[in-house]
């Protein structure tokens, strides 16, 4: 089975090399890195680690980068596509449990959930995630335990059929909508989260303001 790992990055030059090596160490050779208009050397570092590196010349948001990576994976005839964050918070050791339900033919989409095995997740993040889950359920009708997780696996069918125009952080919620609308089989698998100092102090992570913007976008889409 051809498994392609898609990693969207924005100013992750410090850690992206390590993330790629971590993925390779788990036996996954094909890595697609999408540089979302970074101002640092993310593109150069990812290219130096022999990943297929795509560059969005303008910063378009996480959703746009993930979608670009999935399209590249489809061009590579991927049987399974895995998406994970580029800041090192996702553990590459979780990729195998994540793709197992797809390889077994039981699921089309597997959602990595940080809340099924909460570990060291900060309380503030737990609350924010719960709010995100309820809003996603209200807007798109599917209740999942971690609607904002970017660590996910898609079968070839799901990777081809899921289509959303969301460019920013609401992409993760829109995928939930696509699962419901396309009646895709999905399951949730607990994943570890590594809250390194680097990952938790990054300025561009989804905070309160970005969360409110995401909420506004979701409401706007309802009446427009």
């Amino acid at each position: 089975m051809n498994t392609v790992i898609v990693i969207p990055v924005y100013n992750e030059a410090k850690v992206i090399g390590e993330v790629i090596e971590g993925v390779r160490a788990q036996g996954f050779e094909h890595v697609v890195v999408v540089d979302d208009g970074s101002r640092d050397d993310s593109f150069v570092v990812a290219s130096a680690h022999d990943a297929l590196t795509l560059r969005l010349k303008i910063n378009r948001g996480k959703g746009a980068a993930v979608k670009t990576g999935i399209m590249a994976a489809n061009l590579l005839d991927a049987d399974v596509v895995v998406t994970m964050d580029g800041d090192g918070q996702h553990d590459p050791a979780d990729i195998r449990p994540l793709i197992t339900p797809i390889l077994a033919g039981r699921s089309d989409v597997v959602l990595g959930s940080r809340l099924l095995k909460r570990e060291a997740m900060p309380f503030k993040k737990v609350i924010a995630n719960r709010i995100g889950n309820v809003l996603t359920w209200l807007f798109y009708g599917l209740l999942v335990s971690d609607s904002q997780s970017g660590f996910r696996a898609y079968s070839r069918y799901a990777a081809l059929i899921i289509d959303t125009k969301a460019d920013k952080y609401e992409y993760d919620s829109k995928v939930i909508r696509e699962i419901k609308n396309n009646r895709l089989r999905f399951t949730e698998v607990p994943v570890h989260t590594r809250y390194t100092e680097y990952a938790s102090t990054k300025k561009t992570k989804q905070g309160l303001i970005n969360g409110l913007i995401t909420l506004y976008r979701m409401i706007w889409k309802l009446i427009a």
Partner: protein
Amino acid sequence: MHLYQVIVVAISSVMLYLGIKEFVNRETGQTLLKLAVRLVVWGGMGLVAIYPDFTLILARIMGVVDNFNAVVLMGFLLVFLLIFKLLSAIEKVEQNISELTRKEALNEAHKRIEELRQEIKAKKKERETS
């Protein structure tokens, strides 16, 4: 009937028609909740335009002493429509920029993608034969 009532009813009808049509055709993203919100927002506007006295009931429920007059209503509607139009246009432009940027990124990596694809195919073949 006043001119503003005709305009409001016409706009509301078009928006309601589009909403119902998209929902019936099961277009992507058209949920029952979205239809319900559209019915409330645009249906409410139409209702207030046809039965201006409805605002009196609303005013009583909400505790507003005076009635909304036509000028204020039209002003709000105009501003709302302008924002609606502007935000829709901005969103469309944003989507086009993303699409262009994506196409450019994929085009630039086209050669490498094709090489990798051939490599993956060859490995697959090798595995099958062995």
